[in-house]
Amino acid sequence: MMSCETFRMNFHESTEDAALLAHLRTCDRCLDFAATADPDVMFRALGGDDLVPPGGIDAFVDDVMRQVRVRDAEITVTAPHPVSWTRRLAVAATLAAAVTGATLVYRYDTAAPPATRLVRAPIAVQRAALTTKPSVETYQSESATIVEVPADQNDNVKVVMIFDESLPADL
């Protein structure tokens, strides 16, 4: 420990000497001397030592550890069940496959032409049945309503529906 005499001999303005500062922080008489020589050093006298919190270090540490344990317990209770990354990956892959598959099926259903042909087949049968009835080339009536059935562009046959009260019921 430095003596007051040594301190006063070696002290100078803006000193950074650790030994001098250590003495300054413990000796009241030298603080007064140093403050007169270098007022800037006045507040430096407050520093240096580590301090003990009120209640002591043991109580402080116990408080901290208690709070840490409480927080840990809270996290354990509130945290969701951990799911391994492989399981997460499997779920993601399944979802992706399901979405892709559904999209492909939807596109196939809406765009594929064979489905339309399959629907038309029974219509051809109906046409065959209609041919058993007398076909009408021309028709003239003042009371009839004639509705033209829309047909494909490539189809030469034109189908019309005739509503006429004067016609026999079985025509």
């Binding site: 800037d40 507040f43 301090l51 209640g55 402080f60 550890m65 709070q67």
Partner: protein
Amino acid sequence: MSADIHLMIPTTPTVEVDDRQLVQTIREGDTDAFELLVRRKTSKVYALCYRIIGNAEDAKDISQLVFIKLWENLEKYDPAYAFDTWLYRMVTNVAIDFMRNKQSRDNAVNSTLRLVKTAADAEQGVVVQRKEVENVFNDVSSVLSPKQKTIFVMNQMEDLPSAEIAKILGCRESTVRNHLFNARKLMQQQLYKRYPEYAQLWRER
């Protein structure tokens, strides 16, 4: 004979575990290691908090908060850097936040309060007393911004060089020096205003 017996007693060498090793152990789930770390750093953390905040109870609460934050964020510590630098950064962040909130509360309540010593006191001269210096510091440093005060405390009381403070605060060294210069100037002005008996020390230079 007694010397022989003494030699046969197994001695356990007390090897101080490095901070980085301790942190590694804590990361592996050892709560006791964290307790050891808290015990090791309490005095330093509390001292810095106390000097920045200037109130024992608040400093204690803030120190505890620092350690809880430390526990929660230990995964983020990069062992490439000194542990104390990282710890001090946490202390200063929490303390500065606290000071900012406190200042805004105090400004709302005590905006007109000011301790003024009379000119007669100044005439009588002054004997610098440590406890009184502490009160003077707490009073005149209240005009500093939380960052200025933190820098002043770290440099003047914790003896940290400005380069180290720059690392802790994540700013440039020149910024630290500027803050330090401004802090000194502001405190001297306050000293003239509120404590003329101490300010005389400057006048007499």
